[in-house]
Amino acid sequence: MSRIILEHVTKRFGDYAAVNDLSLEIESGAFFSLLGPSGCGKTTTMRLIAGLETADEGRILIDDKVVFDAADSTVVPPGKRGIGMVFQNYALWPHMTVRENILFGLAVRKIEKADQEERLRRVLSRLQISELVDRYPSELSGGQQQRIALARELVTGAKVLLMDEPLSNLDAKLRIDMRVELKQLHEETGATVIYVTHDQIEALTLSSTMAVMKLGVMQQNAAPSEVFAKPTNLFVAQFMGHTPMNILPATIQGNSMQIPGGSLPRAASSASCADGSQILIGARPEELLLGTTQDERSISVRVESILPMGYDSLVRVSVEGAELTIAADERTRTVDVGDDCFVTFDDTQLHCFDAETHERLG
């Protein structure tokens, strides 16, 4: 239905490729997030789909119709692509009331007056903003403006909704409420949503699939759970997660791996590595265990600092010049700053990366 396909799309600004040879297929009805640090090309990708930027190479299809093709210079203007877009700053027209803002798109499309009013009424009551209809944008709070911006795009019945960091200007509490609301709206409308964000929690909680980008290149495109559990390279591994993943250098020796402070049984995913080769191993703070007993999967460390965070604490330990962060359960924590203790690794969950290419092993 409203499938979106990008084939080898490249967009350059001067010499810099903001989007580099990007191929992507977004299923109809998907909630698809583009995630990455600022400057990674996620917003540019969205603007290419919208038609606000024109790519230099490649092909873009929406709903199986070619909306852009560099080969024969097909460029369908944004208004003819059947999309809606919520901007980061909402882009509400300041000289129009809420009503005029919402009805603008319908008027341009020459929808009948009665139908316009009916659609307006429905979208207002759905988003619970009926009482705001005669206000100007400057008279609305940030959260209200956000709802109007959504209403303006929903009212046209667009089957593809593009959202450019729509929640980033809201305060924390409102952001969580709107997340729930967005998820419900997505389910109700069945529209394909493309969602640009730099907030991984948003991407993880909302998306059905997500892509992580870096410097114009897509790093991984998968379901959120998979991106989290099996990051495709070191960049994705460190970008995802509350606290960055711990990374340690390791040397393969027979059935074990030498790491600072000791050795661990060789991780299953390092099967392809030759004896004596150098790799990087990664473990999330939540995947490490802090304790006072030693076994073959643990190394001896010293506690440097403790940051209590309610249920958990972030415990920072040092070992032979390396540092590790461990998320410890505050109720069972027994160690304190200055103590010598042990960190236990779970070798089934260890992430292994090539020391040179930083690609995931196994």
């Binding site: 999309i83 027209w93 300041p94 000289h95 603008f104 341009v108 499309r109």
Partner: protein, 600 residues
């Protein structure tokens, strides 16, 4: 009893220890005496017989009379000549130059902000030069180019020399030259306001409409233009009000053919001692100017104002000019360069011409700079000019320092009293001078201080009155500069010094001043510049002993000694351009926006 005594004492002590409070009250009193009282006094004067008018008005000096108002407004032919003709001329000239300046200024703003036209830096620099140089030097330059030998003491300009026959009078003097010169002078003002407004229209507003299927033309018509319209209207009104009371340009280009505007009528009445009439003209001028400014503040009332003048940089949709890019860039840069540099070049050339308008080497002379001609010594060796230069520098520096200093203190008391009525009153009072054109200001101060007022002696004929008039005239600028500087510093920096036990003078000198140094220096230089180049405000207040350079040129022009006036014009242009560039560099901003726009 004891309790209430203590409460009063506590209140007093709190008051004494909060400088923002007593500063605000001091400003209230001083502004009242230097703004409200003089205006009231002038209005009173128009209804009472002035000294010397007893016989004409048929009563005793000081008696109530409608003589002046009747004479100006309801005396048939006389009123037509005195008021209605100059009034119509003023409106015609002001409205026309405003329209032209807006068209040029806004087109330039659009090209600079919304297209990928090349040479923007150069063009932008050129565009503001005619706005920095005094408008009366542009009038002098106009005469060097288009002047003819037909009228009175006129001499051939470049065009007449080239064509071999006199340029027509309408091109040399009267409304067309006045309109042209003011349009050249003010288009940069419209450009700066327009560019600031355009820059605040974020691209996403236009893109959102594109997504909804609007065509490019529809986006401009339904989105961009309506958002800009209030700002454009406001820019037009401010442009109109800024040039309404200009004296120098119509004096140099209009008077030789008896083309009068209100400013010149006002001056002529005052010059022959008819102060009653002059004050009525002043009232008319102030009324028009104030109406325009009030209309403007109504127009930019809350809901209708969509753009902010202190625009945050936003993303722009830049129109690609494609193959037109280079030609448009060259054309615009070229026109701007000509408009900017040609007048100055011809002005400089003329100062070396023994006979006006003869462009040949044997006509070259240094007489007007370091020599002598017909009993008048060159401006660099004439003690009168030197005295005027000393006066000018003294005035410029003291007004500059005064503006910056008062501005910081106003900023301090207003920003620290934010939200309280007194802050609003002080701020608004400091903006009143903005609605009073310069020459009207001179008249108001003349009416106030031409006679002793209580303990204050007659100030007319002293540098003090000129200093006070210039300072009060600069108050809107000072206040705006000071308030924004103080808002930027924020309260906590000062409060932490207070916690450490620093006294108010110490906090001002050690904390607030160092932090606002750049703004202070910028404010000082810009006030210095506008004082040095001003002729409108001082023309009614100067006497031979308190002559300043800009006003001196008027005397030379009346004698038909244009080269002397040109030479002084060149000196002031150099001074003014240099200082403005320094201020720009110091404040790292575009200081010009503080020039005209006094209302925040």
């Amino acid at each position: 009893m004891n309790l209430s005594m203590r409460r009063v004492r506590n209140r007093l002590s709190t008051f004494a220890h909060s400088p923002q409070n007593w500063l605000a009250w001091i400003f209230l009193l001083v502004f009242g005496y230097l703004i409200i009282v003089p205006v009231g006094n002038m209005i009173w004067s128009t209804f009472h017989i002035q000294s010397g008018d007893a016989r004409r008005a048929g009563g005793a000096v000081g008696d109530f009379t409608m003589f002046y108002w009747e004479r100006v407004f309801a005396s048939g032919q006389l009123s037509a000549r005195l008021l209605y003709e100059p009034l119509m001329n003023t409106l015609f000239v002001s409205i026309t130059y405003t329209i032209i300046a807006m068209i040029i200024g806004l087109s330039l703003a659009w090209l600079m902000v919304k297209t990928d036209m090349p040479f923007k830096r150069f063009t932008g620099f050129c565009a503001i030069v005619p706005y920095i140089v005094p408008s009366w030097t542009l009038a002098l330059a106009w005469l060097t180019v288009f002047g003819n030998s037909q009228v009175g003491i006129g001499a051939a300009g470049v065009v007449e020399t080239l064509l071999g026959r006199p340029t027509p009078n309408w091109l040399a003097y009267g409304p067309i030259p006045i309109i042209s010169v003011l349009a050249i002078n003010f288009f940069a003002f419209a450009y700066l306001l327009g560019a600031a407004a355009l820059a605040t229209v974020d691209a996403s507003l236009e893109e959102a409409a594109l997504i909804h299927g609007a065509s490019n033309r529809k986006v401009i018509r339904k989105i961009t233009m309506p958002i800009l319209l209030p700002a454009i209207g406001s820019a037009a009104i401010l442009t109109f009000a800024s040039g309404l009371g200009t004296f120098g340009v119509p004096a140099f280009l209009g008077l030789p053919v008896r083309y009068n505007v209100l400013a010149t009528s006002l001056y002529q009445s005052a010059a022959i001692g008819r102060y009653g009439e002059a004050f009525v003209f002043t009232m008319v001028l102030v009324t028009i100017s104030a109406s325009a400014i009030i209309l403007n503040s109504k127009l930019i009332g809350k809901r209708k104002q969509f753009t902010t003048m202190e625009g945050k940089g936003s993303r722009q949709r830049v129109l690609k000019l494609g193959k037109w890019r280079k030609p448009v860039g060259f054309l615009v840069a070229g026109v701007m360069a000509i408009v900017t540099f040609m007048p100055i070049i011809f002005l400089v050339l003329q100062t070396f011409q023994f006979h006006l308008g003869q462009y040949s080497l044997d006509n070259f002379t240094l007489a007007y700079w370091i020599g002598e001609r017909d009993g008048l010594r060159g401006i660099l060796v004439d003690p009168r000019v030197r005295a005027a230069a000393v006066n000018t520098l003294w005035l410029g520096i003291s007004v500059g320092l005064g503006t910056a200093f008062v501005g910081i203190l106003i900023g301090y008391s207003v920003s620290r009293n934010r939200g309280r009525p007194i802050a609003k009153v002080v701020e608004q009072m400091s903006f009143i001078p903005y609605v009073i054109p310069g020459i009207a200001f001179g008249a108001i101060f003349l009416s106030m201080f031409a006679q002793p007022r209580g303990p204050i002696p007659v100030l007319y004929g002293t540098m003090t009155i000129i200093f006070i008039a210039c300072l009060v005239n600069r108050l809107p600028f000072a206040s705006r500069m000071g308030i924004s500087a103080m808002m930027q510093v924020g309260r906590s920096l000062e409060e932490s010094a207070e916690v450490h036990g620093a006294s108010f003078p110490r906090r001002i000198t050690r904390i607030m001043f160092p932090l606002t140094k750049r703004g202070f220096m910028g404010g000082f230089i810009l006030s210095f510049v506008s004082t040095v180049k001003d002729i409108n405000l001082v023309i009614l207040l100067v006497t031979p002993q308190t002559m300043v350079l800009a006003a001196l040129t008027f005397g030379y022009i009346e004698l038909g000694r244009r080269q002397f006036a040109d030479a002084i014009g060149v000196v002031i242009i150099v001074l003014v351009l240099g200082c403005t560039l320094i201020a720009q560099w110091l404040t790292k901003t575009n200081p010009l926006q503080g020039f005209g726009g006094g209302n925040s």
